[in-house]
């Protein structure tokens, strides 16, 4: 599904955050990437989510080599990947309500006709009431906003979901609820998961396998 090979990425070419990292996620597989804060795992997640162009290395999605990131990524690849970030406040437009937040990817891809049905379906899945859907981000809690952000990530039915510290801000019960939502979606869609985080107990419980930052060099050492 996802193949990252010898990726080097960062914000300063002379001092990259990620150096020659390789990682693969098979179709339908759930992989947890564990690492301490500041190690570069979020940067790698951004590369995998097509949001940050690496300085070197290759990435393939479903066997197709990725040639462009951000706005240069072809729609077919962009919509195959859903992403949820750590801080819902920073990833939600404060001017729009939760219903619109969830619907935006559909509108952006010319599928507005699907909005009412798909948003209602996802709101049920993540547990947001009609009343909450009308509110704007400032009027809901972090947990409620993260539920909406997860719904938004699932609205285009991605084949790969990337969760970068999705639950780091959340309490135990909301964490378990959101993980259950992801797993229900994966069970019915067969989507793969890359969950990035620092909580070993959580990722080991959640994922098929976990990779520790630093170990993936050895585990997926490129051959030839």
């Amino acid at each position: 599904m996802l193949e990252l090979t010898r990726i080097t990425a960062g914000y300063d070419r002379r001092d990259p955050v990620v150096r020659e990292v390789s990682l693969s996620v098979a179709a339908g597989e759930a992989v947890g990437l564990l690492g301490p804060s500041g190690c570069g795992k979020s940067t790698l997640a951004r590369v995998a989510a097509l949001l940050h162009r690496p300085d070197a290395g290759t990435m393939t999605l479903d066997g197709a080599v990725v040639r462009g990131w951000r706005h240069r990524a072809p729609r077919e690849q962009r919509t195959a990947v859903g992403v949820v970030f750590q801080q819902p406040r920073l990833s939600a437009d404060p001017r729009i309500g939760l219903r619109e937040l969830i619907a935006q990817p559909l509108r952006a891809t010319g599928r507005r006709r699907e909005v009412p049905e798909r948003v209602a379906e996802l709101a049920r899945l993540v547990g947001l009431s009609d009343e909450l859907l009308e509110r704007r981000p400032h009027a809901v809690s972090d947990g409620q906003l993260q539920r909406a952000c997860l719904a938004r990530a699932l609205v285009l039915r991605p084949r790969l979901l990337i969760c970068d510290e999705m639950t780091a801000m959340l309490d135990a019960s909301t964490t378990a609820a959101l993980v259950a939502v992801v797993e229900r979606y994966r069970a019915e869609s067969g989507a793969a998961l890359l969950a990035v985080g620092h909580d070993r107990v959580l990722l080991e419980r959640w994922c098929d396998r976990t990779v520790r930052w630093g170990e993936h060099h050895a585990e997926h050492a490129p051959t030839g």
């Binding site: 301490p36 500041g38 809690s141 972090d142 959340l170 309490d171 135990a172 019960s173 378990a176 620092h198």
Partner: protein
């Protein structure tokens, strides 16, 4: 019965029936905190746990006099036996309380630090203001202050935006410790930190507690609470629903309130099962127990009548002492 055990020494902070209401446009009041009652003694750590939006941070803001203008408080929160934080004026709070008698370890350090000044400059300023260290002693004192919170010396000349979340947290912790305040108030000090850093941060806070300070730590991280706390207060929908000794709470016999039991069971190292539903809106709390709609034990009484906070517990199903009818029912 009272909300706390009889402390050997006078409490550093004694909170009685603290309530916070936000007046909203249209006359809709938000009951962010209702009737909170607890105390923290010197050398003791109380962890206030609960899910996001339950009122924990509002309670912390009330103690520091940092509530917005549309908030109204009732009750009392007496610091050191002489200062009621709820009625003390801004002048008193600013000049004698914040930083000097209460050290704040903030929730979002990136927002708490001054963005246009380096960590070193901020440490030196706090040292000048709070400890009177001057001139050529300042650089050394700043290094020592950074070291207390394990902030690496090599990053002292960085600006807040150049720090990772973990380093920003440590910078903020270093600032909070400078005034040697008898009460440390840590509002989600470990959010976004990895496990090693969480443990180092709370161990550091614990170390300062063991030297005789009181620590009130507000967190949703139960593992951090277990590691650092002597006692645990569980908050749900603006009310404290249970206070317990940390050992009883996290090990045997376990929490007594059904919500607290659900919260613990949701941990990935336990059942990893969420509590069904979501907490009620603080602006539209039900008549009865706020947890009734999500509780497997709820009956007519729970939906009709709000349980009083007695024997450190607000639940109709465990009305007396430390016995635990729910636990036997759950284990059977």
């Amino acid at each position: 019965m009272t909300a706390d055990r009889a402390p050997d020494t006078a409490p550093v902070l004694d909170v009685r029936d603290l309530s916070v209401r936000f007046r909203m446009r249209g006359g809709n009041d938000i009951a962010a905190v209702s009737g909170a009652r607890f105390s923290v003694a010197p050398g003791e750590c109380l962890a206030l746990v609960g899910e996001s939006g339950c009122g924990k941070s509002v309670l912390a803001s009330a103690l520091l006099g940092l509530l917005p203008a549309n908030a109204a408080t009732t009750g009392s929160a007496v610091l050191g036996g002489d200062t009621d934080l709820l009625t003390a004026g801004e002048r008193t709070l600013a000049r004698t309380v914040r930083g000097r008698r209460i050290g704040l370890v903030p929730q979002s350090p990136a927002a708490h630090l001054t963005p246009v000044r380096t960590v070193r400059a901020q440490l030196e300023e706090a040292l000048r203001e709070l400890t009177g260290v001057r001139g050529s002693d300042l650089p050394k004192a700043a290094l020592a202050a950074a070291a207390r919170a394990s902030f690496p010396e090599g990053h002292l000349d960085r600006y807040p935006h150049e720090l990772s979340g973990g380093l920003a947290q440590r910078a903020a912790t270093a600032l909070a410790l400078i005034g040697d305040a008898p009460l440390l108030l840590a509002d989600e000090p470990t959010t976004g930190l990895d496990r090693d850093l969480v443990e180092r941060t709370v161990d550091e806070l614990r170390r300062h507690t063991d030297t005789g300070r009181a620590l009130l730590i507000i967190t949703h991280d139960l593992a951090a609470a277990e590691r650092v706390a002597d006692r645990v207060a569980v908050m749900y929908a603006g009310r404290i629903v249970e206070i317990a000794d940390a050992e009883d709470f996290f090990q045997a016999p376990g929490p007594r309130h059904p919500y607290a039991r659900g919260l613990l069971a949701a941990l990935p190292e336990r059942d990893f099962a969420p509590i069904p539903g979501m907490p009620p809106e603080l602006g539209a709390l039900p008549e009865g127990c706020a947890f009734a709609a999500r509780c497997g034990h709820a009956d007519d009484r729970c939906t009709a009548e709000r349980p009083a906070f007695r024997a450190d517990l607000a639940c109709h199903h465990a009305p007396t002492g430390r016995t635990h009818p729910l636990k036997e029912a759950a284990d059977a």
